[in-house]
């Protein structure tokens, strides 16, 4: 297999994107067929490359140090495979869901472009190349969000772009620092210890990674996008692709480029970010009354587990984080797709209007149930495994507070999914939506596949852990003698798992308490927590976007702009427009007044001038 094969995962989807953008809308099914088939081909390519593992391609690009450098190895191959898998499912799903979308042509084009960029980002072995693909994703994200066609879609798209841009620019700065200190941009040659400038580089690059993954505080566009963007986009980007890329990079940062030490400041920083993301986002998720928005907050919350896991710097934690990444991509994708399926049939995702759909849409409900249980960490699904690994990792660092935060997250995750599932699929049949039936097969199929995968990865967790995760850590993370995580991962009977299970029970309790308190209306089950004295205030503030860093940032930008404009730009202009003219006028006026046309006056000057000249000459003569 020649190295140029590595160009295929990039060029092929890009070419498909161009073709898709050019196909006239009139030709029926061509677009859908082409996209599904290409995605299938890509998936096949992903398998081929995964089997091949090691390949690299280097050619000149932007001069010294900045080469067009692609490298395939176990980690990137794994991510590449995952990406193409999700792409295939999304295409399959979108083929029906987006068929009648007025700008479906663009949608498919952008999806494939995004796939091309993502593949490029994963394969890149040069930081500039990485940034190129990485940042290019912003444009596709932007474009895809605008396809929501809501009045606020563009606003949200800009928000995603600005936040993403901020994070990516931070990453660029970090890469610059890294380059300045190591002298190379080739990724597999860099391994430094974070201190001084490289410490700053670490933090900046970390911002880039977690920004893409959507951790706090760079997450705020995701809940907005849940309402404003097409739901398949949510499953595509925030739920799967961005998580994969973000955590991929975060893992590489902590494993490859920098040596993250257990208990070091950076590790704790990462864990704080992770823990905060878990807790705050889950509290927000809990009170949501919209299916998609609820899911979107979970998409944020779950990032916390991954960041926390990777941040522990302990092999089991890192492995857990990475495993959680792939697991999350599966079940969150499944969840979004099932919410899309509901929306597809009922036209709404508001919890209040839905209810009792399980009978009419059994497959969707089943898929949802599996995925929801997986995300809640119910044994023996995959979520349970990866979360357990993260808990173990967090406990091993010696800071149990992080584990506690993770557990708190677990409680409310389950509570909120109980609420969601209860209000959408169970309970009395809502009267606000007309009678309906199950969605078409291409919609249901991806959900079921994902649900099946959740089960597989949970029950046969040795398979992914040994084949995907272990090689990544091999020789990288600090000295766990054996990298066999499977031993205690599925062990249901240990104290850690006990606490986790206790959490689930508490969540069950909370849900039913709330359900009872709010007059048996499932969608109001979270109200008791919502109305807790202090929390209530905080919730209000956050509804008013007080905690939204973006809103505050935009305000700051506007304030700063006005400041610069009023106090630098305008005064400078004032100097040209007014001061110079005024000074000129004043002098001219004074001089003109002196020229009053009086002969005697003029003669006086002449004589005076003579006197002065004589005086000067006499002075000079002395």
């Amino acid at each position: 297999m020649s190295p140029t094969t590595l160009l295929w995962p990039i060029l092929f989807p890009a070419a498909v994107a161009v073709v898709l953008l050019l196909i006239p809308s009139r030709i029926r099914y061509a677009r859908e067929i082409l996209s599904v088939m290409s995605a299938g081909a890509l998936l096949y390519l992903g398998f081929v490359l995964f089997a091949r593992r090691n390949l690299s391609l280097v050619s000149d690009w932007l001069g010294p140090g900045i080469n067009f450098d692609l490298r395939l190895y176990h980690f990137s191959a794994f991510i590449l495979l995952a990406l193409s898998g999700f792409l295939f499912l999304i295409c399959l799903y979108s083929a029906v869901k987006m068929k009648n979308h007025p700008r479906a042509r663009e949608y498919f084009g952008y999806v494939f472009l995004a796939a091309a960029f993502s593949n490029g980002a994963v394969l890149a072995n040069n930081f500039v190349l990485l940034v190129f693909f990485w940042e290019a994703l912003l444009i596709t994200t932007y474009a895809l969000v605008t396809l929501g066609l809501k009045p606020t879609s563009h606003r949200t798209a800009v928000k995603s772009l600005l936040i993403g841009g901020f994070c990516d620019f931070a990453m660029i700065l970090g890469i610059g620092l890294l380059w300045a200190s190591t002298g190379t941009l080739t990724m597999d040659k860099i391994q430094v210890e974070p201190h001084g400038l490289t410490l700053a580089a670490f933090v900046l690059m970390m911002i880039g990674a977690i920004g893409k993954a959507g951790a706090m505080p760079f997450h705020t566009w995701i809940p907005d996008a849940a309402l404003d963007a097409p739901v398949s986009f949510m499953a595509f980007m925030p739920a799967s692709f961005e998580k994969l890329l973000g955590i991929y990079l975060l893992a590489r940062i902590t494993l490859d480029f920098f040596e993250l030490k257990v208990g070091s400041g950076l590790s704790i920083l990462l864990m704080i970010i992770g823990a905060a993301t878990i807790v705050f986002a889950v509290f927000m998720a809990l009170i949501q009354k919209d299916f998609k928005k609820l899911l979107s907050f979970h998409a944020v919350s779950q990032v916390g587990y991954m960041v926390l896991g990777v941040g522990t710097a302990i092999p089991i934690g890192i492995a857990g984080g990475i495993f959680h990444m792939i697991n999350h991509a599966m079940y969150k994708c499944g969840l979004f797709l099932s919410s899309g399926s509901v929306e597809h049939r009922t036209g709404t995702t508001e919890l209040k209007k839905l209810g009792g759909l399980a009978r009419e849409m059994p497959w969707t409900a089943a898929g949802f149930a599996v995925c929801a249980l997986a995300i809640s960490g119910v044994w023996p699904l995959n979520g349970f495994v990866s979360k357990e690994m993260v808990f173990h990792g967090a406990l091993e660092t010696g800071y149990p507070i992080f584990a506690i935060a993770a557990w708190v997250g677990a409680i409310f995750t389950f509570a909120s999914f109980l609420k969601a599932g209860h209000s959408v699929f169970l309970g009395p049949r809502s009267t606000e939506v007309p009678k309906t039936r199950e969605s078409e097969a291409p919609i249901v199929l991806p959900i079921l596949i994902l649900a099946a995968l959740c089960i597989t990865f949970g029950v046969y967790n040795k398979l992914p852990l040994q084949h995907f995760i272990q090689p990544i850590l091999h020789g990288k993370a600090e000295a766990a003698e054996h990298l066999d995580f499977t031993s205690h991962a599925l062990d249901l009977f240990n104290p850690v798992a006990g606490v986790s299970i206790l959490c689930l029970i508490i969540a069950l309790g909370i849900h039913f308490y709330g359900w009872n308190r709010s007059g048996k209306k499932a969608y109001l089950a979270s109200e008791p927590i919502h109305n807790l004295p202090v929390l209530h205030k905080l919730y209000d503030l956050s509804e008013a976007r007080f905690f939204d860093l973006y809103e505050q940032g935009v305000k700051f930008l506007q304030w700063l702009s006005r400041l610069l404009f009023r106090f630098i730009d305008r005064p400078v202009d004032y100097v040209y427009e007014k001061v110079v003219t005024a000074v000129g006028r004043t002098f001219t006026g004074l001089l003109q007044k002196a020229h009053n046309g009086q002969y005697a006056n003029y003669l006086a000057w002449t004589v005076g001038g003579l006197v002065v000249v004589v005086w000067i000459i006499l002075q000079l003569l002395k």
Binding site: I172, G176, D569
Partner: protein
Amino acid sequence: MKVETITLLTIFIPILGSLLVPLAGAISPRLRSAWSVLLGAITAVLSLTLIPRAMQGGEVIWSRSLALGLDFVLVIDPLSVFMAIVSSFIGFLIIVYSLGYIHHEDHQNEYYLMVVLFIGSMMGLVFSSNLVFMYLFWEIIAIACWRLIGFYRQKDYILKADKAFLVTFGGAVVMLLGFILIYGQTGTFNLVDMRGVAISGTAVLLILFGMFSKSATVPLHTWLPDAGVAPTTVTALLHAAVLVKIGVYAYARLFLYTFKIPPDWQQAIIILAVLSSLVAAGAATVENDLKRILAYSTVSQIGYIFLGLSVATPTAISGSLLFILMHGLAKAGLFLCAGIVIHATHKRDIREMGGLIKTMPITAISFLICAFSVIGLPPLGGFFSKLLVIMGTVQADQVWVAALALFTAVLTMFYLLRVFALVFLSEPKIPAPEKTPSMVGVVATLAVLSVLAGLLVSYPMKLVQMATTHISWWLR
């Protein structure tokens, strides 16, 4: 043809040809248009044919001795050829666009004369290697620019034209004083003979006046937004192709290629450049006039170019040179899109527009692509230039400066998308159709070029690399 013949033709065909424009106009307007386009095309093609020679490195190719050491010396090197290609090519596109934009206005003879003269003088500026001749072409450009800014002949427009002329002239004569100071030190105006000469801070300061006034850098920038009263083609010409690039080019030619400047001054320029960038971005966020926003955006981007050149690491220099190309394409695209919008709606306040993407999709998409390029998003060309500048800045240990520059990039993103949203999205207010094919065609070409410049960045990069090594060779 010999290289010197080509170079001389590149300079003098447009300059002398421009004088024939009124003559052609007297015969028929069609002939005039054809003649102008032809001149633009010849200039662009001729400068392209210089590439092979430029890739071999730089040298003096023609010199004519004149009185007082004011020799007319032409130099072909990667830097000059690169600048010539960028300016003449974008200039050519703008001439083509003008055919549609200006065809029902008065004073077209003067318009085409000045535009072609403008481009020709730019060629003269980049190829001449004598300070006085650089200044000479510099000022011819100022004259042309003044006439063009006042093209619509309204009273307050002419005030703005005068302001532009006075500020740039003022800066330029002060710069001339700096040149003469250097002459006093070295006894020659010929840049080739002065390589590696260390010059005093005073001379640097004086010369900076000229560069900053021409390239509209804070605090000598406010004429540029005001120059937005000109026809949009002209503003595009000023911003994208010729005018503001002059100061930048002069900086590269003088302070990198030729002279050594005191390190303190270099640091001062770095700070000034990044502040300029920030202030202008702030102003662009506050403004509501479409063309003023774009103008401030230019000021802001020019700050990056200066930044890259002033930190003077090879990466940053190549970034800056690449920036000239990328910004040229993208900003020309933005202005020409704005031209279509303004032409169609007769409005310039972005708050009064809206929803135009429905009636003019190509323009809207082109605008967005060019805007992304200016912001510096991949896969568009602007990404590479900005990235390299930032990287180079970091390499030069100017981390905070780089951070500020990146912050400015965020601001850029903010205001350009605001413009896009207000003009093209939201509720349609004035449903105006797209304009003539030549206009839309040029706009689309520029957008496509911005994309291609990003995807095929390695080709322009080769020339830029050559130029950079050529410059860096002389760096301390």
